[in-house]
Subunit: 159 residues, 2 copies
DNA sequence: AAAACATACTTGACGAGTCAACTATATTGA
DNA sequence: TCAATATAGTTGACTCGTCAAGTATGTTTT
């Protein structure tokens, strides 16, 4: 026995086979994401920010001068609002973002990138891009396209 | 312009294209994993435990009567040790696991599943399996095999 | 115009991941 | 044998995700 262990089973030192291929697929996605996330985090933390903070800064840069209300940042991150509020607390403390009450709607809090934040992004971007490239460098272009298709199918299949 | 947005760009409401397909692939893996993790968490939390706690309980069940030292649990979870200590605190508080000093090596702490833990797993397993199956139900068998191959390639390519 | 409701956050509390520092127990080497 | 070193875990501090509850501002209804 044990002559047909999948690579994932060996990684997890599993004694028994997965209950089904469906289960194995899900666990493979989770584990692969974990490795990639670590790789990217290592880079961003060299510059003193977490991966999530980097993500928020990129979203703010995309929003430009007019900024973005807190909730909209959350929507682009699959995250709950409370998390975004506190992320912004830290980015503001580091001088990378600013917040101000919305002028038309005073309930909103408009968030903007500072020039310091923009400079940080400019330095960080090429390194992050390099880390991402390196993370999937072993895939041929047609493999990457196929991977994107399969992952898109999974995501759109979640009701 | 904007006539060639990828599905992922639409999901993230991105205004600009990804810097490269490599970047898009990495983000697709991260985002897909996030959705799947949520799906599984919803199920485990119906039973009062988090996904990580479920993961530890499964590892302990696999270890059987003789149990497993804390560090070895960590190895099978892609996680740092301090986290495992605290996870076990909570599992022990819920009566799902026990700990005792190792007999041969007193530095070790041997963790074991309780019968209550085992019964919880027995009830939870079919539901978790169902959730995993449902998460990738839209893939044909050959798609799943391809996906597993691609993800394995990514993981083994991380030095 | 006042009450009812909705929206946009903020705060508190808890689970979890991660790094650094610390304790206790082995193991090794002079 | 005893000091130096390695190993196994725990604790503290900080970041992040998430739920529930609370506050302030807007909108709708009557």
């Amino acid at each position: 026995m044990n002559e047909e262990l999948t690579p994932l089973q060996k990684e997890l030192q599993q004694r028994r086979p997965f209950g089904s291929r469906g289960q194995e697929s899900v666990i493979a996605v989770l584990r692969t994401a974990d490795l990639l996330r670590r790789r990217l985090s290592r880079v961003s933390e060299l510059y003193g920010i977490t991966l999530q903070q980097y993500n928020v800064l990129r979203i703010l840069r995309g929003a430009g001068e007019e900024g973005l209300p807190t909730l909209e940042i959350g929507e682009r991150m699959v995250e709950q609002t409370p998390g975004v509020t506190r992320l912004l607390n830290r980015l503001e403390a580091k001088g990378l973002a600013t917040r101000s009450r919305g002028e038309s709607d005073h309930r909103q809090v408009i968030c903007r990138l500072t020039s310091k934040g923009r400079r940080l992004l400019d330095r960080l971007d090429p390194e992050m891009e390099g880390a991402a490239e390196a993370g999937v460098a072993m895939l041929r272009p047609e493999d990457e396209i196929r991977l994107l298709e399969l992952l898109t199918a999974i995501r759109t299949g979640q009701e």
